[in-house]
Subunit: 237 residues, 2 copies
């Protein structure tokens, strides 16, 4: 179990493994890892062995990959870096929210802990990034908002947008153009027949608009139910 500084590849692997389980429930497989990282399956096998040697993941041949406590710690610190950087780019340097992902992807491996700390201080230790993703605290605690994909809600359900997946920049630009942002009120009106788009009402009662959302849009929007403000404190490892 070396404590040497992890390479940026290792940081990426661990971050992707963590991110997969952040909003899904099942652990990630070799092939999925390869797809998300854009590398060959063989590269993943090799790297997973290295991660295991370093005590960052648990893995038995031909089964899924899960993080150890050390792995989660490292992953959370990378996620914290990523999301703080994204927030900083938007708030301090005038980036649009569809531009920040790639830049943060590069910076998160390069900056020092000091840089992260100063940035967090300047931003007032924000709890979430421009897409609504929770920013882990320096001690590794995360406040995960309880949220469900818009695409999975029943008709008539109401709530607020708490998170918007940043995987597709095009999608973010579309939402920005339509003036759909975090914390907007939403109501599921219904679904067009034969797996058609989801009909949704967005905005406060006074000025609300109706949208037909394709599956990709509906599953990128995460909604927090109006009812109770239930959050759970995850991962004090």
């Amino acid at each position: 179990m070396k404590t040497s500084t992890p390479s940026s590849s290792i940081e990426d692997y661990v971050k992707v493994i963590y991110s997969f389980t952040e909003w899904q429930q099942k652990p990630i497989t070799s092939t999925q890892l390869a797809q998300r990282l854009g590398v060959a399956n063989s590269s993943v096998s090799e790297m997973v062995r290295k991660l295991k040697d370093q005590g960052l993941v648990d893995h038995k041949p031909y089964s899924a990959v899960t993080l150890t406590a050390d792995g989660v710690r490292l992953a959370l610190s990378m996620v914290r870096r990523h999301r703080l950087i994204e927030t900083f780019l938007v708030q301090e340097l005038g980036y649009r929210w569809d531009e920040v992902h790639d830049e943060a992807e590069l910076l998160e491996h390069a900056v020092s802990d000091t840089f992260i700390d100063r940035m967090a201080a300047k931003l007032g230790n924000p709890a979430r990034d421009p897409h609504g993703d929770p920013i882990p605290a320096a001690d590794g605690s995360v406040r995960m908002p309880s949220a469900h994909r818009l695409s999975e809600l029943d008709d008539g359900h109401t709530g607020r947008i708490t998170r918007i997946s940043d995987e597709n920049p095009e999608l973010l630009r579309y939402l920005a153009a339509e003036d759909i942002d975090l914390d907007a009120e939403v109501e599921v009106v219904g679904r067009r027949p034969f797996g058609g788009p989801l009909v949704v009402r967005i905005g406060s009662a006074a000025a609300s608009r109706e949208f037909d959302f394709a599956e990709e849009v509906a599953s990128a929007l995460w909604v927090h139910s109006d009812a109770a403000h239930t959050g759970c404190n995850v991962a004090d490892l």
Copy 2:
């Protein structure tokens, strides 16, 4: 002559080659390059061949290394990055001037051109960094202040500090503690016998203080003569 994105090693080599000639006059040798980069001589030989293949340097075996026009262009863009980042860290994130060098060294390879542009805009396109080093403009033009090392001035000479070498963080901390900063007025009083320290008067006539500067301090401070404000516009390649 590939136009592919240069690796961060290549960026470092080119930057060091340029920096050497920025304040010296002679081109850099293999060994000096190796020392400044902290690598073996053999590594330099190998890399210099690669730089030559890419058209960034001119080099004949067993002689010094000089940059081509392409090389200078790349070097200036790296120097611009480095110095803008340093300025940003001091002005926006509250870094002390002795802390910024190493952080900038890492960041300069990671950030995008967009990041650099936005940073420069936010800072108001500064012409020099916290140590007084000139920041090349985006088009590659540099305004080099005409300055001489304090250690090389004759007795009685007066001027203002235009640049403070950032090579030694200890030195920067010492100067900060003594409240010696850019643009301070200086007068060379004399030199203690037998190559002793240089005696210097610093500050405006009203409240000036006298210092005995060891060679390392005296040669880290660059002074602009009171006389004419002569700058020259270098490198519009």
